[in-house]
Symmetry: D2
């Protein structure tokens, strides 16, 4: 059974439009990144949407939840903008998809920029989804967090625990 990767956009996939100087979305870079990482894990990639997570609506989150439910895969990675990653994690957890490992990841810098953290995050998300027990997680900064014990510190751009786990 392949690992399912749902693409929703986010900084991961932002590109630079050289005609108007703005950032925008075209196609996902996931397949290119998996190739660069010489990935040999069996994965299936599906683009659900290509949006900035600040624009994500209730309907968009509903779609993500139902895709997580409906896929036969029991290991799922979701690439997602970092700003509302935690919110989507909560929504998925509320849907009580108890028999799957779901890891949400993203990037602080677009993959197409030289200095992106995207490839590192993808490598860690892929490892976490294979090894963590059933549950909903956020994977950023080389770490994993339970969906109910994480927030994005917008001053530093880092993901942190709400309370220190012993």
């Amino acid at each position: 059974m392949a690992i399912e990767i749902f693409v929703t956009g986010g900084t991961f996939d932002k590109e630079y439009n050289e005609l108007n100087g703005e950032l925008f979305f075209k196609d996902t870079h996931l397949p290119e990144m998996l190739k660069l990482g010489r990935n040999r894990v069996d994965v299936s990639t599906k683009t659900l949407m290509m949006i900035d997570s600040l624009q994500m609506t209730e309907d968009d989150r509903q779609l993500i939840v139902s895709e997580c439910k409906n896929t036969p895969a029991d290991q799922i990675i979701i690439t997602h903008g970092t700003d509302t990653m935690v919110e989507t994690a909560k929504r998925i957890a509320a849907a009580d998809i108890a028999d799957k490992t779901i890891v949400i990841t993203g990037a602080m810098i677009p993959y197409k920029f030289g200095s992106s953290d995207g490839l590192f995050n993808l490598g860690s998300a892929l490892a976490f989804v294979q090894t963590l027990p059933k549950g909903v997680y956020v994977a950023m900064n080389g770490r994993w967090f339970n969906w109910n014990n994480v927030w994005k510190n917008r001053q530093t751009g880092r993901f942190e625990e709400l309370q220190k786990v012993k």
Copy 2:
């Protein structure tokens, strides 16, 4: 307790000498890579040697084994040339360091080249070392392998299981 990262060289850290056109080792790129990945896991990096793993001697492997034993860390990553990664994994397993999770990783393409798999592998190794049970593993191609069930297929450059695990 920080995760210990032992650097031994390998393709990961090869650089291009522009004066003679040869590949060589200078300093490790691990700290730079961890910064690029916005890593926030507590790690301690120590360079044991900077060599091509085809040049690795019995004494070199002995040093790696004893460093694994002596560090107080119980989660260890070793960056290593891919050609004899499996051999070093066997030596460590034979030393019976039963209470630690040890993950050996590397890269097919030097980090300094645009097309390196290094950052992806480092991300996955860091995730595996935090989540796999005690044991000795090789992490390549987004996968993890038990030390006694892996080989490098030199025709394809991929790591594969000796026998399919069910």
Copy 3:
């Protein structure tokens, strides 16, 4: 006498702010780019401003003109946003700085992005300023244009002649 490089910002020097997802200016990348190109031409770099050329005011252009006049250098490169590059070229030409070769260049993609044309443009601008006769020029797309025979085609992002020169 060193070649003078005046930095005014533009796409060349845009960076990605990972905290708010916006493009912004910090320091110029010119010194880093010259080092990457192993440049051995004697140059002096001075930052006049760090702005998007769509924001460039009359006062900003006045400053550029007076700096071109006042520098003892008779070979000058100006890095500049592409959108109003031609307008600034006209202003300099109007100032009648007859005894200097002045080359304005820029980039369609920020240098910090993997896919930038910046290094190519800088290499060509540096060559043009050493070899073209006195005058005011725009250097983009591997070509040079007289200040009064060039426009930026915003549909294609390319610089073109107003009328074909025989």
Copy 4:
């Protein structure tokens, strides 16, 4: 009349073979580099050989000379390994191709490495070939040199004049 670009290999086009860890030649990266530079100068690219310039034989140089003679183009760029670039320049000059501008360029670091000077050198070579008078030149380090007044300083990796031109 298009500018002719003759590709002969050299560091410019070296790649890393991930199966054996050696550098090798496959296809030239010139078209990709010209696209990256958003080049709009009319050029025609022809690969004459793909070799390290230390391996270049008398026959190879003879081929380069006769191609320079036979092309209808009067502006020619030759990409070449830096080690014997000057020797090839001398051979071309000796052939007395008096009515053409011929610029030889190369790179200290392969284009496929993140830190290559190749794109900078290509940009400058393309500018020099359009602006320098008839003759045979070497273009490196942002500079141009007459074929009979240049050597490669192997201690520093830089190209220098034999005697200072006033």
